[in-house]
């Protein structure tokens, strides 16, 4: 079956509901659909750049609050309640909490916004912030601190992952539960948080877990039933698989971690999904897993229909610092050394900025993401531009001083094709890292890190030249955070203190700001409804929407 016939087949399976609260599959195929935000990143590319210009440098100073929505839902108050937990059941590795934040990116389709946070979901009117329905999932436990990164939508159906590793499907119109499927057993400390990505008739979901040295995988699932179409394990499963010899033995491969716990990006022309993977396990005590440990801390390209590995690139071979490589793989079409090229770009948690050819995985650029004096963990680079880890900077029983210390993290960056700048929130720091578990078979984290002092490092938003990786400008304050750029010449982000800001994307000058009661917790978004451009951001349990004053 070729790509075209697959698309036709996928559309034929869609529920017959071409009215409101239905995502036309054509919208998903569009780059930058300005009147919808149909995926986690707004489109498949991960650029988080909008062509909208109504709000621009000349008028952004009149941006004003249009509405705000406080997302509340309990088992008693939600209009819909579901999930597997029954009275008397215990919970595993966590439990329900009334403290949650909206860390994900709501979808906006047909004027309705779909929000998820941990075990909860809401639909609201994107014009007014008025609630349509809410949903509460009775959890069996799991780590709730990672939260839900958002939903995927297929026709009139919504999908989101819960902290106890269930994939939940809701009817978009009513919020009624269609089904929930266990993705991995919460008893084994698996937890789930990524926003499912919908590509034709595939729902891509990922699992993760850290402390019990689980193996991890990515699934393609059927949107109608939730059944698995194909599964890709993030560590090699049989002799002859790529990466087999980067682990010492079968035990280490089966307990190697590498959860794909952040949203994917997708290139429709190449039909490749771009998957980022987490740290290896045991996390900091690596004596039982000598080798590069593929495909941990990697960027992997898979065929969307088969799950077949097409290429991979490991940003942090043999990581021992818990530096998941789950930062967004941003797909950019740009001139590269005078020729048009399909690129994938990642600002990595290990402190480096990578540019690759996304068709082949060919390495094009590695550059310091943060001030290079903080990057003491690698001795240099190999001929593929991969950092070579310094064994002496692995956790040591008497302590090793390690930087740059979580240079960035999963909150999504942004790329503006007008400026050619890649915007990302960063950290710098140095800390002592101690090996705690010295046994032949360490388990869990096995190390204790983060014991540092002030190193004078900077937190803030960096604007990085795509072509060179060099810093164009930096705003001090902010750290890792979600960002948005628009064709109005604007970058939206948080200043690290109390203000949500619009920056001049070219210079970093702040053109507008508004006081926030708490720091923003997700990436800003924008959409057009009835001719009005909205800017939207969440802070803890509240969503704020802004328009030009009128």
């Amino acid at each position: 079956m070729n790509l075209k016939s697959l698309s036709i087949a996928a559309v034929a399976l869609l529920p017959v509901c071409l009215s409101a609260q239905f995502l036309d599959p054509k919208v998903l195929q569009k780059p930058n659909p300005v009147d919808a935000w149909p995926t986690y990143h707004g489109d498949y590319s991960g650029k988080r750049y909008s062509e909208l210009t109504q709000i621009n440098k000349s008028n952004v100073n009149t941006l004003t609050l249009a509405w705000q929505f406080k997302a509340l839902a309990t088992a008693e108050s939600a209009t819909n309640v579901g999930g597997p937990w029954k009275p008397g059941d215990p919970t595993y590795w966590g439990g329900p909490t009334d403290s949650y934040r909206i860390a994900g990116s709501p979808l906006m389709v047909d004027g309705v916004m779909y929000i998820s946070a941990m075990d909860r979901a809401w639909a609201i009117n994107a014009r007014t912030g008025e609630q349509k329905w809410s949903y509460f999932f009775k959890t069996r436990g799991g780590h709730h601190n990672n939260g839900s990164k958002g939903m995927g939508m297929y026709g009139g159906w919504l999908f989101f992952e819960t902290p106890d590793c269930y994939l939940v499907s809701l009817d978009a119109k009513t919020g009624k539960e269609r089904w929930y499927k266990e993705m991995a057993p919460v008893e084994k400390d698996y937890f789930c948080s990524t926003a499912p990505l919908v590509v034709r008739n595939h729902i891509f979901t990922g699992v993760s877990g850290d402390a019990l040295d689980n193996k991890a995988w990515l699934d393609a699932r059927d949107p109608e039933t939730g059944d698995v179409q194909w599964r890709w394990y993030t560590t090699p499963q049989k002799s002859g698989d790529p990466g087999w010899d980067t682990w010492p033995d079968e035990y280490s491969r089966q307990h190697g971690g590498a959860g794909p716990w952040q949203p994917l990006t997708y290139d429709p022309d190449l039909n490749l999904i771009y998957v980022t993977t987490g740290n290896p396990n045991p996390v900091g005590a690596s004596q039982s897993r000598k080798g590069d440990n593929l495909f941990t801390c990697s960027l992997v390209a898979l065929n969307a229909d088969t799950g077949k590995l097409v290429w991979y690139y490991q940003m942090s071979p043999h990581d021992t610092h818990d530096w998941d490589n789950t930062e967004a793989p941003v797909l950019i079409d740009a001139q590269w050394k005078g020729k048009p090229r399909k690129l994938v770009v990642e600002a990595a948690r290990n402190g480096y900025f990578f540019v690759l050819d996304r068709a082949t995985g060919e390495h094009l650029l590695t550059a310091p993401l943060v001030d290079k004096e903080f990057l003491n963990w690698n001795t240099g680079f190999n001929d593929k531009g991969q950092p070579i880890p310094n064994p002496k900077k692995e956790p040591q029983i008497d302590g090793a001083l390690v930087g740059a210390g979580n240079a960035t993290n999963w909150p999504p960056p942004s790329f503006d094709p007008q400026t050619g700048l890649f915007y990302v929130g960063t950290n710098e720091g140095m800390s002592l890292s101690y090996l705690v578990d010295t046994s032949d078979r360490p388990e869990g984290y096995g190390y204790s890190g983060g014991f540092g002092g002030n190193s004078g490092g900077r937190q803030g938003i960096r604007a990085i030249d795509l072509q060179t990786g060099k810093l164009k400008w930096m705003h001090d304050g902010g750290g890792p955070q979600g960002l948005l750029t628009t064709a109005g010449g604007l970058l939206f982000g948080f200043d690290g203190s109390n203000s949500f800001c619009a920056f001049d994307a070219q210079t970093g000058k702040i053109l507008w700001h508004t006081w926030m009661p708490v720091a923003t917790t997700n990436g800003p978004q924008t959409y057009l409804l009835d001719g009005f451009q909205f800017i939207m951001v969440a802070a803890q349990d509240t969503v704020y929407a802004y328009t030009l004053n009128r």
């Binding site: 215990p90 490092g457 700001h513």
Partner: protein, 280 residues
Amino acid sequence: MAQRGGRGGAPAGGGPNASRPVEITASRAFEMSSVDRGGKIFAEQCASCHGANARGGKTTKTDVDLLRSDYVLMDHGGREFSDFLKTGRPDKNMPKFDLPNQDGVDVAMWLHHQVTVAVERQSYVKLNVFSGDAKAGEAFFNGSVGKCNTCHSVTGDLKGIGEKNHHDNPTLQASILNGGSLFGGGRGRGRGGAPGGGGGGGNVTATVTLKNGEEVKGTPRMITDFVVEIRTPDGEDKTWLRDGEWPKVKLTNRLQAHIDLMLKYTDADIHNLSAYLNDK
């Protein structure tokens, strides 16, 4: 039955009508007497094959890591595990164990607890190993890179520093890095006391220069693009809205020498300093 804790055991303090579920994998949920009994039974009956820590490995008779085994992880409160012991795995040469049911439950509880201990990293205990060379530490302390003796004396302000830090290497090394206290006040901006913020735990002084040339000094409480707020030595909070670069703010950290050293230290420097200061 003693299994208050363990995966799927009877919820501690809960019950069929409990309004909120109990997280039974938290170490606080375990009945430690059951765990302790299980540990003794394990040492007597199981450790000879599975190793004292139940993790298996190349030096044990069997290479099965019980702390990562589904027979343990998917057990609910010892029910399945105690039944499993009654049959064993003859196909894998694991004999059956004719233990009283409660003994099987206790072994399961001990295994569950071992799993939990590895998970709760906030409870990890760092090893207390002084690996440094005290002589080299003394040289660094008085040398041109460390220049620690510019501000400190081992017979003065640092007298007893080893004792104060319980002669614990990680604690002492943290104290060396931090200048004896936690401090903020980097190059970043933010609310006082926040990471990278201007507060600095009293170690940072802000000098605010107004457009008319007036200077006001105090402890920074908030330094942002839009607001400057400090607390003056007499306890008064002063706040200015910011217009561009005015008012100007200069931050001075009394622990700047420690901040500067963070990018100069080798690991050996830190270990040597710790060894030198430990008996002072």
